[in-house]
């Protein structure tokens, strides 16, 4: 891009690793990763609309070991993105920008994402009567 010599902003290697940096990367990674969930969503409704046989194929995949692993990954990705997303929205209001408070809402986001993921899966197994 730059055809003239201009000062560059500090590059990646000079930043010290910390929770904030990990969460920033995680928010972007899960945002992209959520595309897998979006594809599953469209596939599911397409299969539902196409009739019982098509839906059986979708259902067989989801309940297979691979399907369950993918769905568990998607659940955690969406829930982590959701919680770090709420953290972003809080920071947009100017809150949670001090080192201590930023760390606090960061840890809170991770714990909430784990709790939501495990809660949803425990609930699902409970409703399916397979617990």
């Amino acid at each position: 891009m730059a055809s003239t010599e201009r000062p560059l902003s500090p590059h990646l290697q000079i930043w010290r690793w910390g929770l904030h940096m990990g969460l920033s990367i995680a928010h972007r990674t899960t945002g992209i990763g959520n595309a897998v969930g979006a594809l599953l969503l469209v596939w599911g409704f397409y299969a539902l609309a196409s009739g019982p046989e098509a839906f059986a194929g979708f259902h067989d995949f989801l309940t297979s070991l691979l399907g369950r692993l993918v769905l568990f990954g998607v659940t955690f990705s969406v829930m982590l993105h959701l919680c770090t997303g709420v953290r972003h929205l809080i920071m947009d209001t100017g809150r949670g920008l001090e080192i201590a408070s930023n760390r606090r809402i960061g840890i809170l986001a991770i714990l909430a994402a784990i709790a939501l993921t495990l809660g949803l899966w425990a609930g699902a197994y409970g409703f399916a009567g397979a617990l």
């Binding site: 945002g31 409704f45 839906f55 059986a56 959701l82 997303g85 929205l89 409703f127 399916a128």
Partner: protein, 127 residues
């Protein structure tokens, strides 16, 4: 807000960083919409675990559920479209490749969103 814009900037509608404030706002508006609809959808799917085909169809057909599902798919893919645009703009610096990537992104997200929405409507209208 608009008062601070020059006429040419208004015509371009791209803002100072060529994507502009409206992109930022839409990312956040869809984020808040997603927050509620995704939690609703996740909780609903949880209660539908183990349900058979007929039960799920019956659930989708409820008019309120149909409307919320269409909104969820629309908001989710619009949010995704806006988010990946930022990622592309961060990493793809060649103008031509960037334009083509963004165009491909728009078509892909539009096609998927329409496929999802039409499927929901087909179920909901009893096709």
């Amino acid at each position: 807000m608009t008062k601070f814009r020059t006429p040419i900037s208004k015509v371009r509608g791209l803002g100072s960083a060529r994507s502009g404030a409206h992109h930022w706002w839409h990312q956040r508006i869809t984020a808040v919409v997603n927050l509620f609809l995704v939690l609703w959808f996740a909780a609903s799917v949880m209660t539908l675990a183990g349900a058979d085909y007929a039960t799920i169809i019956w659930w989708v057909r409820d008019p309120i559920v149909s409307v919320l599902l269409v909104l969820l798919i629309g908001s989710l893919f619009y949010h995704f479209r806006l988010g990946v645009q930022i990622v592309i703009e961060d990493y793809v610096h060649d103008e031509g490749t960037k334009k083509i990537s963004l165009l491909a992104l728009t078509f892909a997200t539009l096609a998927l969103a329409l496929a999802g929405i039409l499927s929901v409507l087909k179920i909901s209208f009893g096709g």
